[in-house]
Symmetry: C2
Subunit: 250 residues, 2 copies
């Protein structure tokens, strides 16, 4: 049996009772370490669960799962821990699909995700459009997808959540992300995001040190958001209740 267990956003204690119960029966526990990160260390999780945890990088999950995770899950209970909810990223759905194809029983245990925790900003969840990611530019490769998605969302008056690239030990900051978007704006010149556009930067959402700051792009570029993970929201037209709530973060 393969358990895919969301462990939430921040601390070891963000796991659910159902998740803890499932872990008791598991002989191997993997922690996915390439799409997001917790505030607590692997050691802290190990102590709480009273089990050894193996860190799983992208290569292990995408290239070697057949000879590791899935091989083991044919004979015993294996847990695959995911920061946030269990199927937050395409790579997790892919692992689930491969497990099912290999005839392995699977069980999902859900948990909190940044995709709904952003409601802490006061922005209404049902007004968010597509979510997109901002990658670290590689050499001359600077994907325009985040800019394109922003434009699409604005066209239907929807807010945009940008998740920021994680390539440990590098974690994209709000500052870097805004500067990336402004660069794409300069190239495309559609006025979808300028230095005066109101943005909301968030850091470590769901943790005790959660930090939210709203302001013009040019202002947020100078704010230190501290430790990762960071994310940005570019709101579309704000409802007055949203505007009022956001004011406390200015």
């Amino acid at each position: 049996m393969l358990y895919m267990i969301g462990v939430g956003l921040s601390n070891a204690s963000d796991i659910t009772l159902k998740g803890v119960e499932a872990l008791k029966s598991c002989e191997c526990i993997y922690l996915e370490s390439y799409t997001s990160l917790l505030q607590d260390t692997k050691e802290k999780l190990e102590k709480l669960y009273n089990k050894k945890i193996i860190l799983a990088n992208r290569n292990l999950v995408e290239q070697q799962a057949e000879t590791t995770i899935l091989q083991q899950a044919k004979q015993k209970n294996v847990a695959f821990l995911v920061v946030g909810d269990a199927l937050s990223a395409t790579t997790h759905i892919d692992l689930l699909e491969r497990a099912k194809r290999a005839g392995i029983q699977t069980r999902l245990i859900h948990n909190a995700s940044i995709m709904t925790a952003i409601a802490s900003t006061g922005l209404q969840l049902y007004k968010f459009g597509k979510t997109t990611s901002i990658p670290f530019p590689q050499d001359t490769y600077e994907p325009e997808t985040p800019y394109k998605v922003l434009g699409e969302n604005l066209s239907i008056n929807a807010h945009t959540l940008f998740l920021l690239d994680i390539q440990p030990p590098r974690f994209m900051t709000v500052n870097e992300a805004i500067s990336y978007l402004l660069k794409l704006e300069l190239r495309n010149n559609k006025k979808w995001v300028t230095s005066t556009t109101v943005c909301v930067g968030v850091a470590r959402l769901g943790s005790d040190s959660q930090f939210i700051k709203a302001g013009k792009a040019s202002e947020l570029m100078r704010v230190d958001f501290g430790k990762p993970p960071h994310a940005i929201i570019i709101p579309s037209k704000l409802h007055f209740a949203e505007e009022e709530f956001l004011r406390q973060f200015q």
Copy 2:
């Protein structure tokens, strides 16, 4: 102190360790009972938490919070339990805002939401556009918002999640929701949803009895999805990986 605690999607054991810890210090515990519902009863939660729970309907939260929840939270620790994540609906953000304005300390404890649990269908979360709700028609009042949002999402090639109305003891079914949408289609004739449109119906997502069925609208109208809550997704253009994953639910 007011704790707003997500209790997840289905069972008493979907609460997080952090949530359980917070409840220990709370003298009053309210369970929001008008935007969603659990599979487990209030009594089961009471037994697990070893505390009395007060059911809070919309009237209590929106009209009488000042003299109940917020009044108590000025003097002692109060928990407001929300099915799904803590700020899933506008009504919860509004309660948080009123608590802050009254000078009450607040703390959010996040949990799973249907908005990310829908990844169980294999549809990719970053391809979802705006979420919308389908209300029970009242007399001749049949809001067109869900149809309008569907059109907006399709215009940017985004999937649409429809949450279905809950007015205990009435819970909208997938069948009723599809028939509502087809009625709006007939009136507007934009071909956004017809009897041959592929839809995905989900019921009791995150529970052991979770049920997912994909098929043409006309087919899903004849499927019995069982107990509530139900929801529907109308996907936009599918990625081949999404198509393949969906096949198991046909």
